[in-house]
């Protein structure tokens, strides 16, 4: 259809909305310019910004994952160390307990041995004391017996007995002299 036809069709009498072709065209061109302008001024920067933002988010996410991985690894190493330390502590504890028990047994044995020695020494002392007392008693009995014998003999020996003793002594001494 010819624009002149369209214009004519859209004259004031037939166009209560005041629509004009050049107006529409103008508006359409405006719209296109706006769209183009918006694309370059808004859409593209925004897109670029969003892409950059997305890239940053991805980077942060990756870094976060790496950090988590590293943290997990460190935690595992830490747990291993803890377990090893616990095992070593348990082992050291057991060894210390064993050593203490061994030392206690040695001390007990030493004490037992010492007690045995003390008892033996005491027994020996008692036996020695018993022997000494027995010897003392024997000596005292001997002394008393001899004293009693002296007293009795002093009373009982007569002059005839004395003479007989003298004869016996002289005979013995004479016999010794002959043997010399």
């Amino acid at each position: 259809m010819s624009p002149f036809v369209i214009t004519t069709a859209l004259s004031a009498e037939n166009n209560p909305l005041s629509l004009d072709l050049w107006n529409i065209l103008f508006h359409m061109i405006n719209l296109v310019i706006l769209i183009v302008a918006l694309y370059f001024l808004l859409f593209k920067p925004t897109k670029k910004f969003m892409a950059k933002r997305k890239e940053e988010i991805v980077k942060i996410t990756r870094e976060n994952e790496e950090l988590q991985e590293s943290t997990k690894k460190i935690k595992e190493e830490y747990d291993d160390l803890i377990e090893k330390a616990k095992a070593e502590a348990a082992k050291a504890n057991e060894e210390a307990l064993k050593a203490a028990k061994s030392r206690a047994e040695a001390v007990e044995e030493e004490a037992r041995q010492k007690a045995k020695e003390i008892v033996e020494h005491a027994n020996q002392s008692v036996e020695a004391e018993k022997e000494r007392l027995a010897n003392d008693v024997k000596t005292q009995v001997s002394v008393i017996s001899v004293e009693i014998a002296k007293k009795v003999l002093s009373r009982e020996i007569t002059p005839e007995d004395d003479s007989a003793l003298i004869d016996q002594c002289l005979k013995e001494w004479k016999g010794e002299h002959e043997n010399d």
């Binding site: 024997k138 001899v146 002289l170």
Partner: protein, 71 residues
């Protein structure tokens, strides 16, 4: 003449003295002169000292010997 010392528990009779002097004269090979002394602690028998040698035949000496053996 040699001198001997004779100790006894009681005074000796003449007979005993003679026996002692004869015995010791034979022993030393010459006449001896005895000096007598009484010591009741001897209890019985005699002790004679002749030329630094002691002849002890007393009862007390025998009892002392017994006591030493018992000890």
């Amino acid at each position: 003449m040699k001198t001997i010392e004779v100790f006894s528990a009681r005074p000796l009779s003449a007979r005993d003295r003679e026996k002692i002097e004869i015995a010791f004269s034979q022993k030393v090979g010459q006449q001896v002169r005895a000096e007598y002394a009484v010591d009741p602690s001897l209890i019985g028998g005699i002790r004679v000292i002749c030329e630094d040698e002691i002849f002890d035949g007393t009862v007390s000496a025998e009892l002392e010997k017994i006591l030493q053996d018992l000890k």
